[in-house]
Amino acid sequence: MNIIVFIKQVPETTEVKINPETNTLIREGVTSIINPFDMYAIEEGLRVREAKGGRVTVITMGPPQAEAALRQCIAMGVDEVVLLSDRVFAGSDTLATSYTLSCAVRKIKDFDLIICGKQASDGDTAQVGPGIAQHLNIPFVTYVRKIEEIPEDRKSIRVEKMVDEGYEVREMKLPALITVVKEINEPRLESLRGKLNAKKAQIPVWTFSDMEMDKERLGLDGSPTQVIKIFTPQPREAGEIFEGEAEDCVNKLVEKMKENKIV
């Protein structure tokens, strides 16, 4: 099984601050980490490899600093990493990003399974995983909470997909893509040998000229999404909850509506 895992380096904070003038994230003074959801993707990749053999390749697109995230993947035990880094990639929206990442997969050619986290903690779009699958024309299942089976012939995969009411069992042909949720596993810690390897490792960097790609579909030019304005919404005041017997609650509610001249 050759597995590709896509990860993203994100700011380590749940409270992302935004520069109101440029509409971009303020990254100064914020340490970068691997997107927490991607940690489950890496772990699942390692587990599939341990069960089925093969290799795990982790790919990220980002500035040269994103190398640190890839070193952490090596410390966790992945076989190969690739950094996609080029000025022409800058300003990519989810469409351009998923296109760029799919070009890296086409270059690698030989793969059975792609694993992504369910979404990135900074953008929260959950679009890049499915986008890659569409560009590659392969099947995908999002929000996977368990890989149930990959049969011996390795031609298909059966997974459990989380849905509001519980889960669905889905089966699809390989090669395929899944995005995973945190219920799927508990990511391992790094190992000492892994860390020593990570320290020594040369991180391969692929630029525009290393892949076969259509320049118009990259970066800002390839991004139809336009951010008009980003703002931090004002927190809403908590609503009022009526407790007690249904009849009393209804009466209270009607009173309240009258009071506020709603009825």
Partner: protein
Amino acid sequence: MDYLLTEEQEMIRELASKITENKIMPVREELDRTGEFPGGIVKDIAAADLFRVAIPEEYGGIGGGCLELCLIVEELSRGCAGVAVSFAASALGAFPINRFGSEEQKKKYLPLLASGEKLAAFGLTEPNAGSDAGAIETTAKPEGDEYVLNGTKVFITNGGEADIYVIIAMTNKEKGARGASALIVEKGTPGFSFGKKEDKMGIRCSATRELVFDNCRIPKGNLIGREGTGFIITMSNFNHSRSGIGAQALGTAQGALDEAVKYSGERVQFGKTIATFQAIQHKLADMAIQVEAARALIYSTARMIDSGKQKNFSKESAISKVFPSDVAMAVTVEAIQVLGGYGYMKDYPVEKYMRDAKIMQIYEGTNEIQRNIIGLELIKESKRKKK
């Protein structure tokens, strides 16, 4: 304080610290309550390669030494000394094989211990031989190409959990202390069984158990070194491991100090946090002074041992066990005082730190025995100077 650790040593410390924060702290209260062996955490420690640290590279290790082991033990003890001693006891069992074993023994056992797939233990103490180790009664009678073991070891850490036991037994009773030998006994050998599992005051999740040998036959190839060197191997083992007990004490004391500092900044009495009272500040300061002194002592001793420059260091090694363990006892008691009534309750971890700290004054040679060693060495040194 910056102890000028190498990048690799920092990595080792960081890995152990992550295990403490993510794996040990969330479950330590439960481990303490149930006394259940922390098998899962041992696996995590193995996955992080920490069992490899003090094993040479050619046997699957990283080739570190005493200081690296101390860094791990300190960090793990900050979480739970019961977990830390389960790790450390395996190193105690591995050392005689690594230092005195044959090439064949090293090839057979060290890779298994390095990967953490198997744990080791060291068995010396007997019902009638604690501080007086020379009084051991377990025999290993040579018979053809085998030894036949008979006797009982008590209080053996990792007893039942370990697969590889280094046992000190008399191969020749007539020779007294020179008749003792170190032997490798594998779990599952016929005639080797486990007796009583102890219910302890502290380090409750570590396994402390009786080993029973009843006509247990082991191949002669399991003898470590030569016949008669059992106590030389034992002393060398303890000389190398005592700063590790110091590191257990250091981590335990640091953990208690951290809790005390945190609590004192939160607890409000008389309209202020108790940290604003000088009486509390001075307690915290005295605790910190002792903890830092213990750390400086342990790291320097471990560095000296690892340098290989000094041949006899039984005095230094004893000092690096006595001082930190006395510090841990005092600091953990004081931490409870800082937390007041809450410190006495199991809802907070400080009373556990105190119960854990007590063992460090006792095992691997009581602090009285350590002081005997230090005193004796002082007298020897002064005699040497006179000559």
